[in-house]
């Protein structure tokens, strides 16, 4: 993100506002923002495929809510808290509420699309049992109180983690860790779905989603839009930024492919057959694993990162389910929280190319390139702080909702399916 100092270039934009460079950069951002937005369709299909047919409609509604409500709240307040220009400080931004006195609309577009992604990922973990109004309230909390602060710390030029020199190119921490931990909190407080664990033995039982085809469609759409998601974070094409954008495209593809292959191979070895559902999750875990580092690493490192990302996903998914009893219907905690952490940490080992977004700090190079472990500490601090902030605030929110009995649907509704009670009718009618 911003390492190529979007905000500074928009300061100097007044001079260059009518240059071709400016037009190109902005059109690049807009194109990328469209793609990032399209991730909503990808997540929508992915999650719809992973839930049971009786809850499909509610999950689709959830995604529409996430996108729409997020746009409104991010427009009103979220963007100001993250990137507002008045009274610069290291904790949060102020000013430019309702996009007033703000001209860089394209920048708002892509940031909104990022914020919407963070919301959608988080709510996936709470699928099939959360009351629908919680989706609306949670979206508000996430896009106004939780996400913008982390975004400010890491991506804004005044942010304190930015000053420390944290490297998070396309949001491994800002988006995936934040989304993963909030989702995990919600999912944990909600408790598992009915029937997820055997009542006697406590063994987890499979509750397969209703359509692997939709899942794959969603994953393919995600893969596609991921190019905009990561390459767009270069925030432009000129001044040699096209080179990291090209690098990003190659790196992301390699780590996604490796993630998929790794998880499929593990499944084949452990279970004797190819597990497509896990494989697709592995694909996404591979994508997530390289988000922080994608502009800075060599292609071979992408393979290593994707490989470890696949293992991290598979192991954490198993551990969360069997040890923590966390029932995450779409595995978003394992993919995004652990994948996001790995992506943030892996930068400290593999980084070699490009320059860090803070122009005053030179990227020391990863540990494998003899850069020392200073960067690793910064990355770890960023990771822990993002987890604490997002985890703490979201826990308060979910506790409050739970306290007033507004969190989880009642047993009858859950058994009948959310669609039948909340939205009136089923998602599918084949007569």
């Amino acid at each position: 993100m911003e390492q190529f100092s979007m905000s500074s270039s928009s300061d100097e934009a007044s001079s260059s506002e009518y240059s071709l460079e400016y037009y190109m950069d902005t059109s690049w951002i807009l194109d990328a923002a469209n793609l990032v937005f399209f991730m909503q369709a990808g997540f929508g299909m992915l999650e719809a495929g992973m839930v049971r047919a009786k809850n499909t409609k509610s999950i689709l509604l959830k995604n529409v809510i996430n996108t729409a409500i997020c746009a409104i709240s991010y427009y009103c307040l979220g963007h100001s808290f993250a990137f507002g220009k008045a009274n610069p400080n290291s904790f949060m931004g102020f000013g430019n509420y309702f996009l007033m006195d703000y001209n860089h609309y394209a920048y708002w577009m892509i940031q909104w699309a990022y914020a919407a992604t963070a919301t959608t990922i988080a709510t996936g973990a709470m699928a099939e049992r959360l009351q629908l109004h919680c989706y609306i309230l949670f979206t508000l909390v996430q896009t106004v109180l939780i996400y913008p602060f982390v975004a400010h710390w890491i991506w804004s030029q005044n942010g304190w983690l930015f000053d420390l020199g944290i490297v998070d190119f396309a949001g491994g921490a800002v988006i995936h860790i934040v989304a993963g931990i909030t989702g995990a909190c919600g999912s944990f407080l909600l408790g598992p779905r009915i029937g997820r664990f055997n009542q006697d033995s406590g063994k987890p039982k499979n509750l397969p989603g209703h359509s692997v085809v939709l899942m794959s469609l969603g994953a393919m759409i995600l893969w596609y839009s991921w190019y905009g998601y990561t390459a767009g974070a270069s925030m432009g094409m000129t001044k040699n930024r096209v080179i990291p954008a090209s690098r990003v495209s190659v790196v992301v593809t390699l780590s996604a492919a490796t993630g998929l292959v790794t998880v499929l191979a593990i499944g084949k070895i452990c279970k004797g057959h190819y597990d497509l559902v896990k494989g697709i999750n592995g694909l996404i875990a591979g994508l997530v694993s390289s988000t922080s580092s994608c502009a800075y690493i060599e292609p071979w490192a992408a393979i290593v990162i994707g490989f470890i990302g696949g293992i991290v996903y598979y192991a954490s998914s198993w551990a969360l389910l069997n040890w923590l009893r966390l029932d995450d219907p779409v595995d978003s905690t394992a993919i995004h929280l652990f994948g996001g952490c790995w992506s943030l940490i892996s930068v400290a080992f593999f980084a070699t190319h490009g320059r860090v977004r803070n122009p005053e700090i030179t990227l020391p190079g990863g540990i494998f390139y003899g850069g020392g472990i200073s960067l690793l500490w910064v990355q770890l601090v960023g990771m822990v702080l993002a987890i604490l902030w997002a985890g703490f605030l979201s826990a308060i929110f979910f506790f409050t909702m739970d306290y007033f009995g507004k969190l989880r649907v009642d047993v009858d509704t859950e058994l009948a399916g959310l669609d039948n009670s909340n939205d009136g009718s089923r998602a599918y009618t084949f007569d």
């Binding site: 037009y23 902005t26 909503q40 529409v64 939205d423 009718s425 998602a427």
Partner: protein, 429 residues
Amino acid sequence: MEYLELNGTKEGLSAAVDDMWVLNATYLVFYMQAGFCMLEAGVVRAKNAKSIIIKSIIDTAIGSLLFWALGFGLAFGNADKASNPIIGTSHFFLINYDNLSFFAFQWAFCATSITIVSGSLAERIHVTSCLVYTIAMSAFIYPLSAHWVWSYNGWLRQIGTNGIIDFSGGIVVHIVGGCIGLVGTYLVGPRIGRFDSDSGKPKPLPGHSITLYTLGAFIIWYGFYGFNTGSTLGVSGGRINIASRSAVTMTISACASCATTLLAIKIKSGKYDVVKSVNSLLGGLVSSAAVCSIVEPWAAFIIGCVAAFVYLGASTLLLKLRIDDPLDSSAIHFACGVWGALSVGLFSTQENLSLILKRETNVYGLFFGGGFQQLGIQLLGIIIVIVWCLFTSSILFLIMKKFHLLRIEPTKELVGIDIDHIGGPAYYY
């Protein structure tokens, strides 16, 4: 659209960048066909899924061919000011025409307009009649409206100080498509079982897959970014700022409209309604089409909120009038299109309007003190286009009705079009 330099010189890198922008937008608009196809397939019953898909394919394929052969010439032929304000007369089959990226973009717009109609007529008309109205629309009805509103010498473009303002097809695409769909669905009559035969109360005929429906809506939304921002026809000369503004305002207006409907229905009936919310989202997008480049974000918010009620009102009114529009296409595209086109006269600011017109103007939105003139012109333009569509499409559909080409027989309708006409159902599980 085209307020920006269409006929400017095409030289050098900035021209290349402009064309690149237009081409990318064109692809997105073509991709909206996939969205409409899924949207429509999801909302019909499984027994008619295949027939609605073939209609989508026909209108894209046949419509594109005819627009290439005739439509584009009628719409944008002889774009120099000296020529005919009613109809274009050159560049048929792209003869002697070089600005292919502009052509491709217009082409995709025409395909969108046609595909809107098929939603209104779903589940009960002959595939053949789809062929007929596709030909009529792409070769004649759509091109003339486009000429009047968008061509440099179109007569609606020339009235008043600014001429009619329709940035990216709120009138030309959505009102035309929605209005023809409305006429069609009125003349075809409701689907069997849609209204109780005794009481006349509407009964729901739910579509077979909300998932497909939502997927379609998301794809349309995605494509709409090409639709609205591509209408700058380039990025150079500050046009990228107009495009950025369009992207932001259309997003806000769509989301506001969706949220309004969601909450309004929740408050009224205690349930969340996915289909209506998504429809309303589309309504918000449609109402932003004409106006997205010339309003402030907060105005887009208001436009979106109003669009929700426009959509809900229109949808309820249609049911009261016992007009059965399976996809609510006419409520979405016609009613919200009209609202969007009117809102140009209400919310456009002087600064933004001057920017897209490339000259200072004293006539702008009513709410900003720009007077009634622009509102009047918009109203006039809307009425003209509606009358044109009503007239031509009534004739078209009545002739088809006369020759029994319009509606399939009741027995076949009950069985489903797919079995009889398309050779088997869409699904085998």
